[in-house]
Symmetry: C2
Subunit: 430 residues, 2 copies
């Protein structure tokens, strides 16, 4: 053939582009692998993480020491820290991914066309997945395991604050998959600690098939606005609990407190309480006391504040900013609404489209709320905290998509795949 | 409530943003509509198109006259022209869409979780769909019908060369859906004929949920690179026919000629022929004659040219550009390859990932080719021309996605939807 390959030489390419091309080649190799080959590699990763725990923990200690020097908050240092126990937990998660069914090859739909052609739509890997994430080094291994299981190569761009940890983890992972006979380049840390490598990743259209930013709102907005590679937006959760006029008050209290306070730092925690005016007088004093007991400060509109007197609540006056704030803390915004439709209108206006819950005894209200609220998840008489890959039974999750294209809500292994059509005939022409 | 609506007043917004906000409001209204309401509106559109044919045809005549003045080619003028017969065909297509099943509300998956929560994933409309397209005014009505049926509002940005036609068509459509009790703003022509309105549409993230560019490679590249709204890339088809060492030669000739010459101007027409070296001497002379009979010029590599002598073929020497060219004309590139794997490597390098066909009698070759070729559609012993929504039995198609996210291959009504999860408990907390 007279064709010349644009895939070589790598030498003229930037380090990020070289990594992307090597990932593309590895993706091509692993895409057709049967489940057993991928699972063997995953189990090898889990074993290696346990065998080489001390290497990982001591690399992590460097990151932690640097973070402390930089005056990082203890909460973030806790998220950054790897202990032998945490490394064992990460290894257990990898074994869990190995036990999940392989999404690749699943026949999504199929039929015999009127002309006799057999048509099948089957799941195939996406190819090269880029993950841009902050702090937590466990994401490094989780993402690698999920991408490998779904037949994808992965380019990992962690935060520079976890660089030593991520470097050690990726070294262990690459050694393990290489030892299991898979191309080590299926898992790579994006070279370079500067912002430039993120920018380059975002412009690597054709080399990278999808970018998944995981982290703060600023990071996600930057990636969404600047990337020419398709992006899956994840994680911003301004979630609402709406207490309907007809409601079981103890249930509403349970769901409110669980949604807000069981773990306030996560994206499926509630950030705003909306209460129907007909139940406000009965519900709000008890809710404000319960929130106070849970240590939650209430950013309340005027109509909520009318019910605060005589309660234990810490109440501040809400400003318009409160309706759109994802506190991720022991704070909640609260408003009284005239009707279910007013609650829906408030949610449509301010929600990030993650999860909204209604607490109601009315079938009509439940039906109308689920029909009109357009978020990844609508909960009826259940906590917002259930929007989660493990809770949904997906076994694992690469993130929670808050966009409408490709995947919406918790993303498991099938969401890391695309599909292709196989058309089989015996000489069919049009 | 103390919240203030960012949705009003529209007055300070640009005309494009105003259209987008009105589309968002209309989308909210039509999303929960039952099938019957949407079908009634579609049938009203079909009726109105037939009743008001002369108004449409005379508006179209203005576009055609302007195109002729500007020296536009007859092929493009033909694509632009609307006759009473073509308007009737468009109306028939709308009735056909009305007859298709409603994708909205379909339960995609569902289960009862171990804790007793009922989990359902259901199809919901995307919201506001933007279509940027060139020339053909029938797309205006097709896209409106498909978006309405799937519960979406649509913003149509046709080419300025079809402005009068599109204006007339959208007027007829809006009158019809308004008369059927649906919000007319569910279908809007994007105001303004300049490039600026396209740019504004591409930056309308949050107001527009997805952009689908339909047209030439330049248009699609611009939208992909500049849009912050998620894009579905469509239509570029550098399709390959690979004739394997073990093959049924008459079948291979049929499939080659059908793929290339049955309708060369469409994206699923073949643009490159690859022939295994072991069958080249037997197959190529007959193939070159058959291509000559079909009026096809062959851009051949050296090894193909060796077999051209004594044939009727018009042969020119292929350059590297030929391997990546989508001719859309009576031209085909042709190369001899050493093996099936070399054919796959050529395809991976040069294909746009639309459709590739293998002609083989070998089960092993068919299996390997379908496994290794990563395109929207892989055809075994069938023409590339089958990659098409109607051929696949989808009833209609909004375009053929050549990207891997969200939709891949012909996109029908389900591809115009997203999903949401409904979580139903009776007081469940974590």
């Amino acid at each position: 053939m007279t064709t010349s390959s644009p895939l070589s030489p790598y030498d003229n390419l930037s380090p990020v582009a070289q990594a992307a091309y090597r990932a593309r080649a590895a993706a091509t190799d692993i895409a057709p692998l049967p489940r057993a080959a991928k699972d063997d590699a995953l189990l090898a990763i889990a074993d290696a993480l346990e065998v080489r725990t001390s290497e990982i923990v001591s690399a992590n200690a460097e990151d932690v020491a640097r973070a402390r020097e930089a005056g990082t908050s203890e909460a973030i240092i806790d998220r950054l820290t790897l202990t032998p126990e945490r490394v064992r937990a990460i290894a257990a998660d990898v074994r869990h991914v190995a036990a999940l069914p392989d999404p690749v090859g699943e026949v999504v739909r199929g039929s015999t066309l009127p002309n006799g052609i057999d048509l099948r739509q089957i799941r195939v890997p996406l190819g090269v997945v880029g993950i841009i994430y902050e702090a937590r080094p466990n994401v490094t291994v989780d993402a690698a395991a999920l991408c490998l299981k779904s037949g994808n190569a992965v380019l990992l761009r962690g935060s520079s604050s976890a660089y030593s940890s991520n470097t050690a983890l990726v070294r262990v992972v690459r050694d393990a998959i290489g030892g299991a006979g898979l191309p080590a380049d299926a898992v790579q840390l994006v070279p370079g600690e500067s912002r430039d490598s993120v920018t380059e990743l975002m412009r690597a259209r054709g080399m990278v098939d999808v970018l998944i930013p995981r982290g703060g709102a600023g990071l996600i907005r930057t990636v969404v606005e600047q990337s020419t590679v398709p992006v899956i937006e994840t994680g911003t959760g301004n979630c609402h609990v709406y207490v309907d006029a007809e409601t079981d008050i103890p249930m509403a209290l349970d769901i409110l407190i669980n949604s807000k306070a069981q773990r306030p730092s996560v994206c499926n925690a509630a950030e705003t309480l909306l209460v129907h005016q007909d139940i406000a007088a009965e519900f709000l004093p008890r809710a404000l006391d319960a929130l106070a007991d849970a240590g939650v400060t209430v950013h309340a509109d005027e109509r909520v504040r009318e019910h605060a007197e005589g309660t234990k609540a810490t109440v501040v006056a809400a400003t318009p900013e409160d309706w759109e704030t994802e506190y991720l803390s022991y704070d909640i915004a609260a408003a009284v609404v005239d009707s279910l439709d007013a609650a829906v209108a408030h949610i449509r206006l301010w929600s990030s489209g993650h999860t909204e819950a209604i607490v109601t005894t009315s079938q009509a209200a439940a039906r109308r709320f689920t029909q009109l609220v357009d978020s990844t998840t609508v909960a009826v008489n259940a906590s917002t905290r259930f929007t989660d890959g493990s809770q949904f039974g997906f076994g694992a999750e690469i993130g929670i998509s808050t966009q409408k294209l490709h995947a919406r809500g918790p993303m498991g292994l099938p969401e890391l795949t695309s599909t292709k059509y196989i058309v089989t005939g015996d000489g069919h022409t049009r």
